[in-house]
């Protein structure tokens, strides 16, 4: 079976092109907030991904397809998860690992068990946490070559993790005018990207909606801010609502639901299995956020839950068989 046949079993190849294009509005916002450095980082990621693609084509004696944008889309999605101050070296290494180890080693397009962007981010986060979890203040134009570590601050996720309450007003939260990953903070633009992908029928709603819904529910029922404790769900509603806002917007939850869960390769094949996958991923992501060592854990959760993706399909089929047997 060719690469294109494998991917077409999961979905169209055009999904990667659309994902790559959808990163551009977020990149534009990042350039507005931090200067041209994000654009250079994005370019470094895309070029690295492209070169890795060409290298693999050469090593595997296959023709290089310049119109296949999967690697470039993974690189673009990965760089937008990182701060604008991250070094070029970190971007290049994490994109190379994402593409070569996360995707090509497992057979290439349509065959990878884990989302390559999640793999690349996890490698970067574990290897260089001081760079990945320190963010520049929006509005400060960063030097093109060496951003340095001066003037870097912690994100709202870090504040939540340490029991604090972030103080970001709603407008800034919507526009991404606060310290965070360069592509994951501007909610308005994320929603616009989601609409673009929805119109192109790229968003896998049966996984994304349960994922976001369970994250919403956990953030509402068990907020990390305020002294809500185990109060009834409708008590302290403003605090709960603020908690939902920060949990979904300050990390990479929304970004994952829109971009990374649009890749049909990593998802189970049956609808019910995808719903279960989305719910499980949501629970795992929030557990990582609440109890894990890093302030954002959705990429780690994606690797863990992704290893069981085909298991969801099997369980679903077993349940169908049992239902059929009962009906007979």
């Amino acid at each position: 079976m060719s690469e294109k046949q494998v991917v077409s079993r999961h979905g169209s190849l055009m999904v990667y092109q659309d994902l790559l294009v959808a990163t551009l509005p977020l990149l534009a916002m990042a350039v507005f907030l931090y200067g041209p450095r994000p654009a250079l980082l994005w370019l470094a990621a895309v070029v690295t991904a492209n070169l890795c693609d060409q290298l693999v084509a050469f090593l595997r004696h296959r023709p290089f397809d310049p119109l296949e944008f999967s690697n470039e889309s993974f690189g673009a999605m990965l760089v937008l998860l990182l701060p604008a101050s991250v070094s070029y070296y970190v971007v290049i290494v994490s994109v190379a690992v994402a593409v070569l180890v996360g995707k090509e080693a497992f057979g290439g397009l349509g065959c990878y068990p884990f989302h390559p962007t999640a793999v690349g981010y996890a490698v970067a986060a574990v290897s260089w946490p001081e760079q990945v979890f320190s963010f520049p203040q929006p509005g400060t134009w960063l030097p093109l070559v060496n951003a340095g570590s001066a003037g870097l601050i912690q994100s709202a996720s870090y504040t939540l993790k340490n029991g604090g309450t972030p103080r970001i007003d709603t407008l800034n939260l919507m526009l991404g005018n606060y310290a965070g990953p360069m592509g994951a903070t501007a909610v308005v633009i994320l929603v616009a990207c989601a609409l673009l992908l929805a119109v192109r029928r790229r968003i896998q709603w049966d996984a994304a909606l349960p994922f976001l819904a369970i994250c919403f529910a956990i953030a509402w029922l068990f907020p990390r801010m305020g002294r809500v404790g185990l109060a009834l769900p409708w008590v302290e509603a403003p605090v709960r609502l603020a908690s939902v806002g920060y949990e979904l917007c300050s990390g990479t939850i929304l970004y994952t639901g829109i971009f990374m869960l649009s890749d049909p390769v990593i998802l189970p094949r049956h609808r019910a299995a995808r719903v279960a996958f989305g719910l499980t991923l949501g629970v795992a992501s929030m557990l990582y956020r609440y109890y894990g060592s890093y302030e954002t854990g959705v990429c780690f959760a994606m690797i863990l839950v992704g290893s069981f993706a085909s298991g969801f399909d099997r369980l679903h089929l077993r349940w169908l068989d049992r239902k059929e047997a009962l009906n007979q």
Partner: protein, 220 residues
């Protein structure tokens, strides 16, 4: 390679591959044994060297001891198979412990942690107990030495590579100011690096074998 040598290799490839414990049938790369100490404990040249000394002291004597015990037990061997190898391994470990302690002091033992005593049950040391065909002590000695060399080459190579990538040094001598790939110091990085080394090594072995057969075909 001369055509005669190529023909000899092509005709005896299976046997030669099986006996070559360094390159064509390396215990780590081809057989997947001895992974735990390599992935978790061998994070630098120094810890790899400590483990290497222990393996060198334990592997061959255990194999020879197991071969002798198997011969002595005869038909009763099946009941005590694993113990025939595990007991010599546990005794050899005592020697390895004192040697490591003498060479590098108690800090070396702390650095490798439980992965030194873990060698007693490590398949690299004791898996011969499962073999259906017994081997004599002389053959056990020869095979043990070859396997030891094969394992040590990979162990030291991986340890040095991990130290260079994670810390930019080799045997504590700082060579680089930057950390090329800090994940290499973690078990996750150890798994990935070893996987990559295995793939590259196996690819090279496949290419070597393919070239031999092509050379013979060309000169038929």
């Amino acid at each position: 390679m001369t055509i005669e040598k190529a023909r000899y290799w092509a005709e005896n490839m299976t046997e030669l591959s099986k006996n070559d414990r360094l390159w064509l049938n390396n215990p780590v790369i081809m057989q997947g044994v001895g992974l735990a100490p390599m992935v978790v404990a061998a994070t630098s040249g120094y810890t790899a060297l400590v483990l290497a000394v222990a393996v060198a002291v334990m592997l061959t004597p255990t194999r020879v001891g197991g071969a002798i015990l198997r011969k002595a037990l005869g038909e009763k061997y099946d009941r005590f198979a694993v113990l025939c190898y595990a007991f010599p391994a546990a005794l050899c470990y005592i020697a390895a412990y004192f040697l490591v302690r003498h060479l590098w002091g108690p800090s070396a033992l702390q650095q490798v942690g439980v992965y030194l005593p873990l060698l007693v049950f490590e398949p690299l040391i004791i898996r011969r107990y499962r073999a259906a065909v017994p081997e004599g002590p002389a053959r056990a000695l020869r095979r043990g030495l070859y396997t030891t060399v094969g394992y040590l080459v990979v162990l030291l190579g991986v340890g040095l590579a991990r130290e260079l990538l994670a810390q930019g040094s080799l045997m504590d001598v700082q060579l680089l100011d930057v950390q090329l790939f800090p994940l290499a110091a973690q078990p996750a990085g150890g798994f990935m690096l070893l996987g990559a080394v295995c793939a590259a090594w196996r690819g090279r072995v496949r290419a070597f074998k393919r070239n031999i057969y092509q050379e013979v075909e060309r000169n038929k």
